[in-house]
Amino acid sequence: MKAFETYLLDRAKTEGNHQLATYRKLGGYKSLEKVLETGITPQQVVEETKKSGLRGRGGAGFSTGMKWSFMPDATKDPRPRYLAINADESEPGTCKDRVLMEKDPHGLIEGSLLSAYAIRAKAVYIYVRGEYRLSYDRVASAVREARAAGLVGKNIAGSDFSCEIFMHKGAGAYICGEETGLMESLEGKRGHPRQKPPFPAQSGLWQSPTTVNNVETVFNAPFIMERGAAWFAGIGTPNSKGNFLVGISGHVNKPGVYELPFGVTAHEILEEKAGGMWKGRKLKAWFPGGSSCALLRGSDVDVVLDHDSLKARGSSLGTAAMVMMDDHTSIARVMEVIARFYEHESCGQCSQCREGTQWLSQIFRRIAHGRGQPDDIATLESLALGMAPGKTICALSDAAAIPTLSAVKLFKDELIECIRQQRDPLASPAPKYASVGAH
């Protein structure tokens, strides 16, 4: 791996960075103050971000500057405008935002305020996953500190820009990490995603123009404004710019969150950052970006970890949460666990998703427990095709169908063997929860 410049996690390495004084010492809030003091207009921030090529880090990888530019013209639309920060990080395997919130909460606040400035939002809602107690506490106390220092609220840093930050704690539902589910939840309703259109930029929180951004996405904004779009665009591959956080987990020696520029291969990350596979075993399968993207074979580890390269291999970057599985891993068991997750987290609105996630889970559970039936593979495939793509209100149904389709395609022989032998040859130790319908 070539040497590269880091910036995302630099401050996080300093002890006490979650406090304002230390953060300031490390150069914090300089970018925000620069923008506010030098009279850079919101439009210029949007343009700069567009030029930088920053893409959302929440999974979909949509251009951030483009998303901001979808907000209606503030001169023609009198409605209040909001920014919602999606910190409801609950994708299996993903743990990057947690590091940022715990170690660098002021970085998130600065990024949020800059983004709010860009879209002329009057308030920011930070929706933190309920289980992330330390993250919530750190960000909440950072907001208090920043407010006391005049950095949140009216006339930020003596400028005309006013923006309030509100904290919100999730209650444990994965679906509230879906942007429209998140907005429903913020409004105090059940986290049932909304049908799009209307898109949040047209009608979001309380029917007002809203942008929902991931923590890591807005975290990049101050660096882009401080060092320039050209600097940012100079890092990475043609369609994936900047540094990103990889959360690598599974059967590796050194699981963790690492900062990397786009352009490095998964193999380099595995070997040079995560210390290779544990116990000297071989990589059998891996998720490149959390459980919602397609599984890849171990041999695909030579892929460059960016949006285009992963797409070419039939998967996606997602949240860059690499879940590595060694050759002792049973795919039937993996899929049982993944399918059970989606079964548990489907909100239940759409028929395909409500019943489909449950059905997939039931079939994988049977296969993994030696009760598979000969037509199960075909059923799995057609069910997954009935659930995706784009057949439901939100993408949770797709998220359950995509790994299923990839598992059925790449590891068909192994699943068939499980069904034929009426036991899982790789099952070890015996799964503890065998009863159907138990949670």
Binding site: A173, I175, R190, Q195, E343, H344, E345, S346, C347, G348, Q349, C350, S351, Q352, R354, E355, G356, T357, Q358, W359, Q362, I363, Q373, D375, T379, L385, G386, K391, T392, I393, V436, G437
Partner: protein
């Protein structure tokens, strides 16, 4: 309006209304579960998938209830892709459905059953154990919920939120574990609970009063009008094999009741089914009222009216416009006073449908020139009259026994009623059909005319009031000669 093409036919569609409206209005049979024209579309059941082409882009399958028509849109509801997507969706919906149609009250008018039959999906692929949930969960006095049959369309939830505007139901829990529940398990309240049984596209919400009462295909259904208040909701009267009314259900009428009706009206069929009906006619013989041919009773009335004595006519507020007109004619010929008994407001008024006025045809009768008076206002006039004719369904009940009893024995009381009653001045009782046994028109509070239908036969030798009055005319040739 925009021009779109639905199944090859170019039509004008309202771009503010969901595409499903344009499809349904133009004969395209697209199934719906969560969509209801009277409720906000949510697009959660995903069954109304149709193929849509815009410009040169390849066709895509969209849910018709959450897509709005756009100029030049080409819609194909019957394309292979649309059918395939709907079939997939249907399979998911049927995965845990109990398929207890043989014992389900909804069978025969169930959207899920109909569409499954249409799509010809007769075998399921699921070998998994079916979800077992509460089969009989009482949701108050009106509704019972079968959680297993529910397909979570949330129409009932939205109904309470949007129509009576008081949320009472919710979807509890998550994913496939979702069930319909009331808040804190409290029973449902209010006068509009019954509507959710109509709304339910499957047999999950059923009326306690209709449970196991009839197979719906045995019901004869007639369009009629509710007579419980002056709103006059358009209803359908459903009669089992020509005997009992089993159900009143709202009939869509945007001018009056939309898609809804209140529970007071919905369950008012006990009165229509009540036994002990007055058949033919009864005539006073000494202290007894004896069963006589109707003509005998009519002759007695003719004879009583013949001398120019002071007569008073009292109609029931349930009289139709036609009955009112006929009675008015008779009253004018005999220079008799005429009014209809109008009970005071019954306190059921709400801001949705119920007007609180128990006189269904108040407007129709008033427009004829017949005034509505309370029983107390009528009482002194009846005491003075020599001949009192009370006519119409429930007129004796509405006047009250005390008022009828106060009519002196010297006066002659004639009654056209559905049920027999006793009063000391009573000379003759003549049976008439009730509101599900006769035709006619009533005019509601806003002036909208609604029909009554003869949904079931009247009791033996009972003729309509209008017909009885014609017969009375036929029996009175002398009167015409005398006036000439």
């Amino acid at each position: 309006m925009v021009k779109i093409t639905v199944n090859g036919r170019e039509i004008d569609a309202d771009p503010t209304k969901p595409l499903i409206r344009a499809c349904h209005d133009n004969g395209a049979d697209v199934p719906i579960y969560c969509y209801h024209p009277g409720l906000t579309p949510v697009g959660s059941c995903r069954i109304c998938q149709v193929e849509v082409k815009q410009g040169e882009a390849p066709g895509r399958v969209v849910v018709a209830c959450r897509t709005n028509p756009v100029e030049g849109m080409v819609v194909d509801t019957e394309s292979q892709k649309a059918h395939a997507t709907r079939r997939e969706c249907l399979e998911f919906l049927l995965k845990d459905h109990p398929l207890d149609c043989p014992i389900c009250d909804k069978a025969g008018e169930c959207d899920l059953q109909d569409f499954t039959f249409d799509e010809g999906q007769s075998a399921g692929r699921s070998n998994e154990p079916r979800r077992q949930l509460e089969k009989r969960k009482s949701l108050g006095e009106v509704i019972v919920l079968d959680e297993e049959r529910c397909i979570l369309c949330s129409r009932c939830v939205r109904f309470f939120e949007e129509v009576p505007k008081k949320a009472q139901l919710t979807v509890a829990d998550l994913g496939w574990r979702s069930v319909i529940a009331t808040f804190a398990d409290r029973p449902l309240t209010g006068n509009y609970q019954g509507n959710i049984a109509d709304l339910c596209p499957v047999g999950a919400l059923t009326l306690k009063k209709f449970r196991f009462q009839a197979r719906v295909w045995n019901l004869i259904k007639m369009s009629s009008t509710c007579v419980e208040c002056s709103r006059g909701c358009s209803i359908q009267v459903e009669v089992l094999r020509g005997s009992d009314v089993k159900r009143f259900r709202p009939r869509t009428n945007p001018k009056v009741n939309g898609w809804w009706m209140c529970d007071v009206g919905r369950f008012a069929f006990d009165h229509a089914n009540a036994g002990g009906r007055l058949e033919g006619a009864r005539l006073r013989e000494g202290t007894d009222l004896l069963q006589v041919p109707v003509e005998d009773a009519l002759c007695a009335l003719r004879d009583a009216l013949m001398p120019a004595k002071s007569a008073a006519f009292v109609l029931s507020p349930f009289c139709t416009v036609e009955e009112g007109r006929a009675m008015l004619g008779l009253a004018r010929r005999h220079n008799a006073e005429i009014a209809f008994v109008a009970p005071p407001p019954n306190g059921l008024k709400d801001d949705l449908l119920h007007t609180g006025d128990p006189c269904p045809n108040r407007r129709g009768l008033t427009e004829l020139g017949i005034a509505g008076l309370t029983a107390a206002e009528l009482a002194p006039r009846l005491v003075q009259a020599k001949v009192v004719v009370v006519a119409g369904e429930r007129v004796a009940e509405l006047l009250g026994a005390a008022v009828l009893q106060a009519i002196p024995p010297a006066a002659n009381l004639f009654a056209f009623e559905c049920h027999p009653f006793e009063a000391r001045s009573l000379v003759a009782l003549i049976g008439i059909p009730n509101h599900v046994e006769r035709t006619g028109t009533i005019v509601n509070v806003d002036g909208v005319r609604g029909p009554l239908a003869a949904a079931k036969p009247a009791p033996r030798s009972v003729r309509a009031l209008t017909r009885l009055l014609e017969d009375l005319e036929r029996l009175s040739p002398r009167r015409e000669a005398a006036t000439r």
